[in-house]
Subunit: 288 residues, 2 copies
DNA sequence: TAGTGGTCTAGACCACGTG
DNA sequence: ACGTGGTCTAGACCACTAT
């Protein structure tokens, strides 16, 4: 392909060879004046067919940055290189890097702090924590309750869990059961399944010793970061087990929350079934 | 005040006189070359104190556009002027208008369509409809059920409704009660309170005759557009009334959804209390 | 004082939709 | 062919934070 090569794709822009990227770099070359270097050799190539799978430059940059996040080149809580640095690394303008980071910030993968830099988000921050804990007390501030682990064992995935985790029935998974307590009231009964491959060495002890959000542990100890989740919510009646563990009468209405959590690349890594007592708490949701 | 006047604030940029805007227009003047006009008279003013309430230009433009949306200058479904037109109207660059519209699009007030223009969103579109209807059937596609209006009357706001609507107890409100039916199953019992001042002339007949989402009626007939909403969700037991209307046993678990909806300027205009039967449907929510 | 992200501009070209 | 939004660049200046 006769594309205008070196200027943009020098630093291993992905797919620079395949159909997607070839036509995308056609952007602006300064009209005249400007520095002596960098003049494209043959503007004739501009009329090449607009390849069917067009991907903007900033999307490619975004994918590159995401890959570095995923590989752990920049760890949660750390600062990523400045826009200028990234621009020169990828051989694009600062504005293009900015647009890529804008989207990553909108997806909460990174957070910008004016005057300081751009930082990889982490489940240790309050902001992130309450994105995944939507239970709010009727009175008082949202807070993290105490977790009592009932069980943590390895077993083979039942069919439905396997389907949700996109693995095969019988593949290894870790099952956790726990109760969350707020102000001395048992409020949440969770049953959690995790991808076995990602959580070798996870034990009840580790869970019990850990202070703070479970996702922070997963991120720090197992290198698995929850990026987004999808929930299905229903009202159900408490069965005997739930009633006992949550100290409510059998048949009491409980909020059932079935969550599937995803990490980079939209790969599911967790299924979580929660039963919430909603007499003194409610599930907060904003439609916008 | 000795601000650089005519160039930016000519077309009635709001607050151009007050503290906020004076310092904000300081942006870029082209280094040299460029057209003969427009050279700022006194670059000395650049060192004026950075006013405590700094508001970027694009935020001011965004406020202006929002005002035009609110006033009905551009109605739901219509196209707003092109970026170039708005840029020349407000005497700013296209890029600044673009950033303003970017935010409005992110808030779903407008939608961009490449090659066509930017359009005011409307509750007639599918995309918007399902932002406010989160109930999804276990089997089959999401769809809009049939609405049976039980009641629609004017009355004085009880204390709690008044508090949520930010009005005084006893102020006029419209109360609606209705049942939503999906596939011949009564699924949702709604009790709705609307700001009386905004909904004069709303009757049970109008509601019954209207085919389509209620919010589309409100938008088309009453000029009140729901922009965002906040919901508090719990599990409750069906009382006799709900049990009868929804054809479930007394005490059955139901999803209770208390919604407050807001229009422009974050003014609350609706309180809605819904009871959902979640045996064949679930409430869908995405955390990200 | 230096470095970072944030704002603003101006101009070029591209992809898309419609005549 | 034309107008729309979308991408990309280059350069200037501003606001914030740290040293």
């Amino acid at each position: 392909m006769s594309s205008l090569p070196t200027s943009l794709t020098g630093a291993s822009v992905p797919g620079a060879q395949d159909s997607g990227a070839a036509t995308s770099g056609a952007g602006a070359q300064p009209s005249s004046s400007s520095p002596p270097t960098h003049q494209p050799p043959a503007p004739a190539a501009a009329h090449s067919v607009p390849s069917p799978t067009f991907s903007p430059l900033y999307q490619q940059i975004k994918a590159l940055i995401t890959r570095s996040l995923q590989s752990g080149e920049w760890k949660p809580g750390e600062m990523i290189p400045s826009e200028m640095e990234l621009a020169s690394r990828y051989k694009v303008s600062q504005g293009t890097v900015r647009k890529a980071i804008d989207e990553l910030a909108a997806e909460n993968l990174v957070a910008r702090r004016q005057g300081k830099g751009t930082f990889v988000t982490t489940h240790h921050e309050d902001v992130v924590k309450f994105r995944f804990l939507r239970l709010v007390p009727d009175e008082g501030e949202p807070h993290y309750g105490a977790s009592r682990v009932l069980e943590c064992k390895r077993l083979r995935a039942p069919a439905e869990i396997a389907r949700l985790l996109d693995i095969r029935t019988g593949d290894s998974v870790v099952q956790i059961r726990r109760v969350l307590t707020f102000s001395d009231e048992s409020t949440v009964l969770d049953e959690i399944w995790l991808l076995g491959a990602n959580f070798r060495g996870l034990t009840a002890e580790k869970l019990t010793e850990w202070k703070g959000p479970m996702y922070a542990l997963f991120e720090a100890e197992f290198g698995t970061r929850m990026i987004r989740a999808s929930e299905k919510i229903r009202a159900v009646a408490a069965d005997e087990t739930a009633a006992t563990l949550l100290s409510v009468p059998v048949g009491s209405p409980l909020l059932s929350v079935e969550r599937v959590s995803y990490t980079y690349g939209d790969r599911p890594v967790e299924v979580r079934r929660g039963l919430y007592v909603t007499t003194r708490h409610y599930y907060q949701n904003d439609l916008s």
